[in-house]
C-alpha cells in the first residue's frame, strides 16, 4: 500500500472528533513545531519539502511564506482557500469533513511560522454542513488550548474564523477572495502588489489551499526528506486526485505525485463503467486543457502536465466516454465560464458570453460553418489579455477542445451530425 499524508485515517470512525484524533497522534505536530522548533526552521523544512500549492497554480508554499515581510507593524493574516469551485473538484470537502483537525493543525503551524494571529477559512457557501463540522472542530481545539491565547504556553495567540462564501467561482481566485472577505463583490485585484505584502485589510497575507495546509503537519513530524521521497524531487508528496465521470469507482485517491493518469483511471478508479469506452480526460479541473484517450500514459505532476500543454490544477480528473458528444463537453465549459466571469475585463466578459451563445446555437442545430473558427478566434482573444487568470482558464480548455476534436465539432455544423452518439 502506498504511503499517505492526509487520508490514511479517513476510515476511522469519528476521526473528525478531537478525542479520536488525539488517540492517533493528533496535535503531535503542533506540539513539536511550537515547542521544539523555531519559525525559521519550520519555513526551511517546508521549503525543502518542495510542497507546491494544491489550489491550482502549484507555487511552492515555503517560498510564498518567505515573501511575507516580517518588519512591518501591521497584523498579518492567513486565508485558507476552501472555496473549491473548480468543476470536478471535491477533495477539500473530504479533508474538511473527515479530517478537520489536520487542517487546524496545519493552520496553527503555518501561523506560528509566519507570525500570524488571525486566520480565516473562506469556505464555499454550499458547504454549510462542512462549515458546521469545522466550527465544531475549532471549538474543540479552543477547549484543549490549541487555539486562543498563549497556545501551549508558547506566548503564541491564534484565532480561526470561518467565513462562508455565497456562490461565486471567482472568489476562489486569491485576490477576489480577499475582496469578498472584506464584504465586497469578488472582483479580482490587479497584481502587484501581491497579497504577501498588501492583502486582507491591506495587511500582509498568506493564502493557501486546504490541501496545501493539510500537508504541513506530516512534514513537521516526518521531515522534508521523507515528504520529498513520496513524490518527485521538485514536487514533493502526494496529491488527492478526485475522479469523476464515466468510471466504475468515482472518488478521491491519494497517490504519489507522478502516478500515471492511466493507473489512476484503470487501477484505482476501477476503469470505465460497463460498456463504456474512453474518449477524453480533463486532468486538473475544468480549467485544464483536455487530453485525448491516447494521451493518458502521462505522469500526473505539475511539470509533466505543463509539458503536455495542460495543467495539474486542482488534480480533479473528469473521465469522458465516447457516448458523450464533444459538443456537450464544450457546452458545459462555455456555460460555466460565461456564468462565472466577474465582468471586469472586456475580453473575458464579452468573449465567454459570445462563445457560449455560439455553442448554444450549435447545440440547437443552427450552427454555421464559420462558428468553429470563431470560437477559436474568440478564445485566442481572451488568452493573456485579462486581469486575472479566469480568462485564460476559460480560453485554454475551449481552445484544446476545438483543437483536438475539430472534426467532430465540424460535423455538428455541416448538417452531417444529427445522431447525438458518435
Amino acid at each position: 500500500m502506498e504511503e499517505k499524508v492526509i487520508t490514511q485515517n479517513f476510515h476511522l470512525k469519528n476521526y473528525f472528533k478531537m478525542d479520536v484524533y488525539l488517540k492517533h497522534d493528533g496535535y503531535q505536530a503542533v506540539k513539536k513545531a511550537l515547542k521544539k522548533m523555531k519559525p525559521e526552521q519550520i519555513m526551511d523544512e517546508v521549503k525543502k519539502a518542495n510542497l507546491r500549492g494544491r489550489g491550482g497554480a502549484g507555487f511552492p508554499a515555503g517560498v510564498k511564506w518567505g515573501f511575507v515581510p516580517q518588519d512591518v507593524p501591521k497584523p498579518k493574516y492567513l486565508c485558507v482557500n476552501a472555496d473549491e469551485g473548480e468543476p470536478g473538484t471535491f477533495k477539500d470537502r473530504y479533508i474538511m469533513s473527515h479530517n478537520p483537525h489536520l487542517l487546524i493543525e496545519g493552520i496553527i503551524i503555518t501561523s506560528f511560522c509566519v507570525g500570524i494571529r488571525q486566520a480565516y477559512i473562506y469556505i464555499r457557501g454550499e458547504y454549510e454542513a462542512i462549515a458546521q463540522r469545522l466550527e465544531q472542530a475549532i471549538s474543540e481545539a479552543y477547549e484543549k488550548g490549541f487555539l486562543g491565547k498563549n497556545i501551549l504556553d508558547t506566548g503564541h495567540d491564534l484565532d480561526i474564523i470561518i467565513h462562508r462564501g455565497a456562490g461565486a467561482y471567482i472568489c476562489g481566485e486569491e485576490t477576489a477572495l480577499l475582496e469578498s472577505l472584506e464584504g465586497k463583490r469578488g472582483h479580482p485585484r490587479l497584481k502587484p502588489p501581491f497579497p504577501a505584502s498588501i492583502g486582507l485589510f491591506n495587511c500582509p497575507t498568506v493564502i493557501n489551499n486546504v490541501e496545501t495546509i493539510s500537508n504541513i503537519p506530516a512534514i513537521i513530524l516526518k521531515g522534508a526528506e521523507w515528504f520529498c521521497k513520496l513524490g518527485l524531487p521538485k514536487d514533493g508528496g502526494t496529491r488527492i486526485f478526485g475522479v469523476s465521470g464515466m468510471v466504475k469507482k468515482p472518488g478521491i485517491y491519494e497517490l504519489p505525485l507522478g502516478t500515471s493518469l492511466k493507473d489512476i483511471i484503470y487501477k484505482h478508479a476501477g476503469g470505465m463503467k460497463p460498456g463504456k469506452k474512453l474518449k477524453a480526460v480533463v486532468p486538473g479541473g475544468m480549467s485544464a486543457p483536455i487530453l485525448k484517450a491516447d494521451e493518458i500514459s502521462i505522469k500526473m505532476d505539475f511539470d509533466s502536465l505543463v509539458n503536455a500543454h495542460s495543467m495539474l490544477g486542482s488534480a480533479a480528473i473528469i473521465v469522458i466516454d465516447k457516448d458523450t458528444p464533444i459538443i456537450d463537453v464544450l457546452k458545459a465549459v462555455a456555460k460555466f465560464y460565461s456564468h462565472e466571469s466577474c465582468g471586469q475585463c472586456t475580453p473575458c466578459r464579452i468573449g465567454t458570453s459570445w462563445i457560449n451563445k455560439i455553442v448554444k446555437r450549435i447545440v440547437e442545430g443552427k450552427g454555421k460553418k464559420e462558428d468553429i473558427n470563431n470560437i477559436e478566434r474568440l478564445a485566442d482573444n481572451i488568452l493573456g489579455k485579462t486581469l486575472c487568470p479566469l480568462g485564460d482558464a476559460a480560453a485554454m480548455p475551449i481552445s484544446s477542445i476545438v483543437g483536438k476534436f475539430r472534426e467532430e465539432l465540424e460535423s455538428y455544423v455541416s448538417g452531417k451530425q444529427n445522431d447525438k452518439k458518435m
Binding site: 474564523i161 456562490g167 461565486a168 465586497k184 463583490r185 465521470g245 466516454d321 458545459a332 460555466f336
Partner: protein, 157 residues
C-alpha cells in the same frame, strides 16, 4: 415595514461583527443570517444591514446581486438546485432536469404556485463523485435517478 431579526439572530449578528477588524467584512455572514431568517434579501433588509455595518445600502445591493446564493425575491420552501456542470451532465443531468420540470410542472428559475418548490440549475456543487446530484436547500442528494428523485420529492412535506 422593516424586518425584525429574532433575538437569537441579533445575538449572532453582534458576535459575527466582533470577529472582523472592519465591520463591513461581516456583510456576507450577515446576509446569510438575513436569508435564513426571512428566506430572501429584501430592499428593507438591505437597508437594515447597511445601517448595522455603517455602509451605504448600495454596497449591500452590490453584494446581493453578485452572489448567486443570495435571493432578492421570495423562493419556495424547498430550493431544488440541480448541478448541470460537466461530471453531472456526462451522467445524465439533463434528462433529470427535464424529468423534474415535468414532475413539478415549472421551468428553471420558477416557483410552484403553492410556494413549495423553486427549481434552479447550478454550477458544480463539489459533489461530482456522486454525480448526478442536486442540493435541496443545503442538503446534498447524489447518485440521482428518476426513482430517487421521486422518493426525495415524496419525502418533502
Amino acid at each position: 415595514m422593516s424586518p425584525e431579526f429574532s433575538d437569537q439572530a441579533k445575538k449572532k449578528i453582534r458576535e459575527v461583527i466582533s470577529r472582523y477588524p472592519k465591520k463591513e467584512a461581516a456583510l456576507l455572514p450577515l446576509l446569510h443570517i438575513a436569508q435564513q431568517e426571512f428566506g430572501h434579501i429584501s430592499t428593507e433588509s438591505e437597508k437594515v444591514l447597511a445601517e448595522m455595518l455603517e455602509i451605504k445600502p448600495i454596497r449591500v445591493r452590490e453584494a446581493v446581486t453578485f452572489y448567486t446564493m443570495l435571493n432578492r425575491r421570495p423562493i419556495g420552501k424547498y430550493h431544488i438546485q440541480v448541478c448541470s456542470n460537466l461530471s453531472c451532465s456526462i451522467l445524465g443531468a439533463e434528462t433529470l432536469i427535464d424529468y423534474l420540470k415535468k414532475k413539478i410542472k415549472i421551468e428553471i428559475g420558477e416557483t410552484t404556485p403553492d410556494g413549495k418548490f423553486t427549481l434552479s440549475t447550478v454550477e458544480c456543487l463539489g459533489n461530482c463523485e456522486e454525480a448526478p446530484c442536486m442540493q435541496v436547500n443545503f442538503d446534498y442528494n447524489g447518485n440521482l435517478d428518476k426513482k430517487k428523485i421521486d422518493s426525495i420529492l415524496n419525502s418533502l412535506k
